[in-house]
Point group: C2
Chain length 145, copies 2
DNA sequence: TCAATAAAAGATAAAAAAGTCTTTTATTGT
DNA sequence: ACAATAAAAGACTTTTTTATCTTTTATTGA
């Protein structure tokens, strides 16, 4: 596996997709998103339900409904998406899975992991969801396959 | 989850444990290792079989048997253990799971991930298995719970 | 009010990861 | 040769993750 769970990968990609479309002023259906990010439609539906409950995305039922975001969520850091799905296990806790690992009783890789965790965390905290819209618009970056 | 799979966490901890004991000149049984690193014994047995087949650790059956390492494996980088269990998904491939993500067709987080992946890779490549023995001997670092 | 639309919710199913238990094989010292 | 030891191998079970399919609820516009 990569750094995130598959579920989280879909979540991030869908959030980028929704953000991108929101800036263009349109709502998007699950079907459109699933196609746009190459994800299984029904599985994505579950993920979006979850993100919606947690306030990361907004949704509206019925005709002209779909998913969208408001300006304040567009400005939220990426870490909010990751934490909503994968939790904080990537930044918190021992890299070797030891419960009692701490500064005073560290695992052998404690200091090495600290650096890496901080890197990941910093990256996710210092990037906003919306800041990737520009390159998506220009077709410089992709979300599919 | 953390950065590694649970299997990989056990693998790294067991390798540290075996390395530590090897330097003291003794072989260790699965039972001892499992106790020493707080892992399920039979599950660990499977992992060690795997590591043994891949040449990360050595093993001997029968009385006075057990697991141990030779000097050349003690000097191998940590990345060998990680790759043997979790593969190279952590350093190679797209952080958002996109197959066609590349320098020319990057995912939105391509550059951000590149830095992180390089950090992780560098950390694992530049550390040897044996270099953690000192602190383990001194009781400064732990492998249990 | 009604038909169409789209998300929410629920119920399974399949695959992968994690964990357990039993049997077999190799080695050793007596 | 044999009993004891310890890893190797094999067969399962459980849990978690990933994925699919169906039904329900809310909303809209005609």
């Amino acid at each position: 596996m990569g750094i995130f769970s598959k579920t989280c990968e879909y979540a991030i990609r869908s959030v980028f997709f929704i953000a991108h479309r929101t800036e263009k002023g349109t709502r998007v259906s699950i079907k459109e998103i699933a196609t746009g990010i190459s994800s299984p439609e029904h599985f994505l539906a579950k993920i979006l339900q979850d993100l919606s409950k947690k306030g990361i995305v907004k949704s509206a039922k019925g005709p002209n409904g779909g998913f969208y975001m408001d300006e304040s969520t567009l400005q939220r850091p990426l870490v909010d998406v990751v934490e909503a799905i994968d939790g904080n296990g990537l930044f918190v806790g021992c890299g070797l899975g030891l419960i009692s690992c701490s500064e005073s009783k560290p695992c052998p890789l404690h200091n090495e992991f600290k650096v890496i965790r901080e890197n990941i965390h910093h990256m996710l905290v210092s990037t906003t969801i919306k800041e990737f819209n520009g390159d998506l618009n220009l077709g410089i970056t992709i979300l599919k396959k």
